[in-house]
């Protein structure tokens, strides 16, 4: 999978690349508007991570250019601004997702995973891992051909873990994912534990007992 990271902050770009590298993602960088335009013209990517605040131009122009040339890359906008305007115009111009800086790398990876799946598998978007089968469109989960009922939050968590295979995800990261803006305003992240515990139990009961592991006491890891 080829990913283009358009980001002027090299440390951020490097971190993203390092996190993604282990999972078969090949990252290329563009730190300026000009550089980005050149790369987009010459190469094909599976997903583009686009910082819209570039020193020599607006990232939204890049997005317009992509759409003009009918390019099929999935685009995730990342922006330090959480201005609603940017979000709307970005999505209207055809971005697939929008992330406000700062974000957890696991959050970005889960979104990249979803976008690439959507772009590549279209109508039959089914993830398989041993006895586990997840239909991303119908939002159903079967283990050994048996349907298991998950709540919305549990399904959300499962996809998050699948998108972050073999990564350690901490409780606070999951809290931010589940509660968004609320998470850091709440003193207590025990609700995460409750959701993960339920998910784990459902998976375990259906015979999938080796996938979701608890690590370091309060962290989680999906083993594939």
């Amino acid at each position: 999978m080829k990913i283009l990271i358009i980001e002027d902050e090299t440390e951020l770009a490097k971190s993203i690349a390092e996190y993604l590298a282990e999972e078969n993602y090949l990252c290329e960088f563009a730190s300026t508007f000009k550089d980005a335009m050149n790369k987009i013209e010459m190469f094909q990517y599976d997903c583009i991570i686009l910082d819209i605040m570039l020193p020599d131009g607006n990232g939204l122009t890049i997005l317009e250019e992509l759409k003009k040339h009918n390019k099929q890359e999935g685009v995730i906008i990342v922006s330090a601004k959480n201005a609603l305007d940017d979000k709307i115009s970005g999505l209207q111009l055809g971005a697939d997702d929008y992330l406000t800086k700062p974000f957890h790398l696991s959050e970005l990876m889960a979104r990249i995973y979803s976008i690439i799946r959507r772009k590549q598998f279209g109508n039959s978007n089914i993830v398989k891992q041993n006895e586990l089968e997840i239909d991303l469109l119908a939002k159903t989960v079967t283990i050994n051909n048996e349907r298991i009922a998950l709540t919305k939050k549990e399904f959300d968590l499962l996809i998050y873990f699948i998108g972050n295979k073999n990564k350690v995800i901490s409780k606070s990261t999951l809290a931010e994912h589940l509660s968004g803006d609320f998470a850091d305003m709440l003193d207590n992240h025990d609700f995460v534990y409750a959701h993960v515990k339920n998910l784990k139990k459902k998976l375990y009961d259906a015979g999938c007992d080796h996938c979701l592991k608890t690590v370091y006491g309060t962290g989680y890891k999906w083993i594939s």
């Binding site: 951020l12 957890h104 790398l105 609320f182």
Partner: protein
């Protein structure tokens, strides 16, 4: 200073013109009183001088006329006797030799000889030696002069009359002046009262041809410009500082994510990294809230949207439901009215969320939160132990509870949003309940 304080002081305040009038009048009165004896002395002296001259002329003229007649000594004596009868106020006496070195002037008081009623009159008298037929005669002449009391009375009456004229004139002029001369000052005052630092607009003062007011305007303009620029700098600083912090914090956050993936990580190190995650999340929230406050301050929000307040409340309650459950908090909802308001939906959402989260954080487990929405108020109350300091409550970074690790800006943001929307937020403590209520 609050408006209330300014108004309560008003009772003891007097207009500037009254202040200057009173000492001025006292001064005028003093001068006029002093002027009465001075006038008297001046008038009396002039009068006496004139009368002395007059007496002297008569004496000299009379002596000249007698000498001119070239009378014999006997005829002269007869004539003098006759003269004395006709002119009782004069007296001509033969004296053996001239014992007067020079003329003598003096004032005497005596009864009027011919008046029906006895009346003391004042006379100016003169004694002079004249030579008639080469013999010395002592000539005494008296002329009636106005009594001192009468003069003083006349001067006093005139003075009082002028004092009254001055007072009336001054009051009249003051009224006229306060309407015309002070008009630009009043306008300036009105302008200043309407000045609002938040709007960042300088005041256009009316042109005036009065030097002091023009100077005042210039100084005020300078002051206002300085204030605005200081306020702007302060806001820009907050905004820039928050923006600039975003990137290093974002890098930190991602580096912690990477650190967690390290295979050699021990559980102890993991826990440290997780604590860093929490602290970072808090830094971000502070940053984000500061930016939000700046944005509200700068009025960068559209204020013309229609807010479906009821729906926003329901949505927030739904999103927070699991957090109520987590702490076993009972939520009592009273939503009696469907209301639509004008304002900004995103801000209204922030307001509702902040109030509800504030309630969740500060409610003990198994506590009660009640949410009430009517067509004029939105009220969130939660169980508590003691009243909070309502002066500090809505101030930025004034944390009131000890174990609080929020951004310290939640309630300040609520206050700013209310200001922006022209709503009011208030706090009260009743029946062991903290009650926050927003009035639309």
């Amino acid at each position: 200073m609050s408006k209330k304080k300014i108004f309560s002081n008003n009772k003891n305040l007097k207009p500037l013109l009254n202040k200057t009038t009173k000492p001025f009048l006292i001064y005028v009165l003093t001068i006029l009183i002093i002027s009465i004896p001075v006038y008297f002395i001046v008038i009396d002296t002039i009068w006496k001088g004139e009368l002395d001259e007059h007496n002297k002329t008569i004496v000299e003229k009379t002596a000249y006329e007698f000498n001119h007649l070239k009378l014999s000594d006997a005829d002269l004596r007869k004539s003098i006797a006759l003269w004395k009868l006709i002119q009782p106020e004069t007296n001509i006496e033969e004296i053996p030799f001239d014992n007067l070195k020079k003329d003598v002037y003096f004032t005497i008081q005596k009864q009027k000889p011919f008046a029906a009623e006895p009346e003391i009159e004042r006379y100016r008298a003169m004694k002079k030696v004249v030579y008639l037929n080469s013999k010395p005669y002592l000539f005494t002449i008296e002329t009636n002069i106005e009594e001192s009391e009468e003069t003083i009375a006349a001067i006093t009456a005139t003075t009082i009359f002028f004092f009254i004229m001055i007072v009336l004139g001054l009051l009249f002029l003051n009224r006229r002046l306060s309407l015309t001369v002070w008009k630009p000052f009043r306008n300036t005052l009105e302008n200043l009262k309407s000045f609002n630092l938040n709007t960042q607009q300088t005041i256009e003062f009316e042109k005036t041809d009065i030097k002091e007011f023009e100077e005042l305007h210039q100084s005020l303009n300078k002051l206002i410009e300085h204030n605005i620029s200081a306020f702007k700098t302060q806001k820009e600083f907050t905004e820039n500082a928050s923006h600039e912090l975003q990137t290093p914090l974002a890098i930190l956050k991602n580096k912690v994510d990477l650190l967690l993936q390290n295979e050699d990580l021990t559980e102890k190190q993991y826990q440290i990294a997780e604590k860093m995650n929490l602290a970072l999340a808090r830094s971000f929230r502070i940053n984000k809230n500061l930016l939000l406050l700046t944005k509200i301050d700068n009025s960068q929000f559209d204020n013309s949207e229609v807010i479906d307040f009821e729906n926003l409340v329901k949505q927030s309650l739904r999103l927070l439901e699991e957090h109520f459950l987590q702490k076993d908090i009972l939520v009592k909802k009273t939503i009696s009215q469907t209301i639509t308001l004008n304002g900004n939906s995103s801000l209204a959402e922030v307001l509702i969320n902040n109030l509800l989260i504030n309630a969740i954080r500060n409610t003990p487990p198994n506590g009660l939160i009640s949410v009430k929405l009517t067509d004029s108020t939105f009220e969130v109350s939660n169980s508590g132990v003691e009243k909070l300091d309502s002066d500090l409550l809505f101030k930025r970074f004034s944390r009131l509870s000890k174990e609080n690790n929020g951004s310290g800006l939640g309630l300040a943001i609520i206050k700013e949003i209310c200001n922006f929307q022209n709503w009011t937020i208030d706090y009260k403590f009743e029946n062991n309940n903290h009650i926050f209520f927003v009035k639309f």
